[in-house]
Symmetry: C2
Subunit: 297 residues, 2 copies
């Protein structure tokens, strides 16, 4: 916490506290990103990108079909049928979730399914899993799969996405088969890892998270809004592939299976900025930065 | 994530997944709290309680002099000298911190000190430390001291409070001796454990956190507001002891050195509510609930 902006500075001469054998030794996060190559970044797949338009701006969500193919197919069907357009943010609970969907649970689903079998976990086999070096409280291993924070039992055991800040999941009732993707939530506080393996997760917010995280809290139980006028309406949710190319968000994300990403993790595990006096030496999966940038035009 | 409020229910018949030897076996968090005794709770000490009044309401902060006696003494001096009255929230950074103080860094400190030696850690000896059972990514042990989340090297090694959601710390410049307590911040997202042992922490927000967490994000570097009109003013900050008793927040907090608290932790480690299908079996220090309730009058 720098006292004020003008007094904050990245270290001109990084403290050499990291192992000299590490490629990231002595590098700040800014150093690592500045040295990244164009091939370290990937564009978003328009088939896996949602735009949620709210009165104050756009939220961009990246979907992870490698973890939840059936729910994501259903979400695409809902979106193409304009299911979410005119619905609302229905819940904003402090240090937990913001949730959206149909407050009246009446809107027809069109061609989409009303319930789906859970996709809480899948086999880790076949996933491009970059393992983090530190122990995790909840899982034998944590790391990243194509940019998504995840955990696994082992290389061949089960795997799942982790409930980090900004991660998006599927609301359901007590019956595990009641999720459809028509009600979605995003984590707006400390990682809710207790939810891991209990919910189908579908992706993460890449841009516009502040529009959701600063929603006034609901004062009903579990942060639901008690009065319709307290809710924020959803103008529309569209799949990027259905938006003219010129109107798409031109974003690219750092690939998590690159040396640059590994260096970035190390530079954050052991912060080299002058402000830090005791580098943590460890990092948890929900504290790893996942860089997103605008495509240079 | 329950799909909707009316469909959400605590289990009438808890699933018996926890160890039958555990006193909390089969209990939900609601069960545990309902069974708590009056002696499991403690009132706030007015000498260690701050009221920060904002235009939309009051934030109640509990101070932890067992960790930062010198900074907290200085904060009391600043508060008694009305230092914070009329100052502002100066920074709101997504998934990191909200910070307040003097945007112009010009207001006289009165009898308070302008800088203090750091109180980043202290000896664990003499602390009433309730240890959590699960491994932590960052520290050999984590747990609670008098209601504050904390970590320690060992029972006789160093100890420090952890940067969980709602925890309050002291802003400083690169020089570790530049903190005074005149600039404070609160964690508004995932635990920023990388800051542990790099900052003097002074307490936690007990009530009114939503007033801070939903502050519009600043668009300057590090979330600082760029224009004065974007800032929210602080009406006043007072020590509860200086407020007439009838105007004080009548709050009490669950003692963290009780069997009830241990049972509460266990009921959250292994959620028994019907909605949960795979109890986590683990819990991290920043996911433990710290119950606060109004004193029954």
């Amino acid at each position: 916490m720098s006292k004020s902006l003008r007094l904050f500075a990245f270290a001109a001469v990084p403290l050499l506290l990291a192992s000299a054998n590490s490629p990231a030794a002595g590098k700040t996060m800014a150093d690592v990103l500045a040295a990244s190559k164009p091939s370290d970044w990937r564009p978003l797949d328009p088939q896996n990108t949602l735009y949620m338009d709210l009165p104050k701006g756009r939220v961009v969500i990246e979907l992870a079909p490698q973890f939840a193919p059936n729910h994501i197919a259903n979400i695409r069907t809902l979106v193409k049928g304009k299911y979410f357009d005119g619905l609302a943010i229905v819940r904003s609970q402090e240090n937990y979730v913001v949730q959206w969907g149909d407050p009246d649970t009446k809107k027809p689903f069109g061609e989409a399914k009303k319930s789906l079998a859970p996709e809480f976990t899948r086999s880790a086999a076949g996933l491009n899993f970059t393992v983090l070096p530190d122990p995790d409280t909840y899982a034998p291993q944590t790391g990243f799969v194509d940019g998504f924070p995840a955990a696994r039992e082992s290389a061949q055991g089960s795997a799942w996405m982790t409930h980090c800040y900004g991660m998006v999941g599927v609301g359901r009732d007590n019956d595990v088969n009641t999720g459809s993707g028509a009600e979605l939530y995003v984590i707006n506080g400390h990682a809710a890892r207790l939810l891991d393996r209990n919910v189908t997760m579908v992706g993460r917010v890449l841009q516009g998270m502040e529009l959701l995280s600063t929603m006034p809290r609901g004062h009903g139980a579990m942060g639901f809004y008690e009065k319709p006028e307290e809710r924020t309406g959803i103008t529309q949710i569209r799949l990027a592939a259905d938006v003219p190319a010129a109107e798409r968000a031109s974003l690219e994300v750092l690939k998590t299976d690159t040396q640059t990403f590994t260096d970035l993790v190390e530079s954050r595990r052991n912060r080299q900025d002058e402000w830090y006096k005791v580098p943590a030496g460890h990092i948890d999966v929900c504290n790893v930065p996942l860089p997103v940038r605008k495509v240079k035009s």
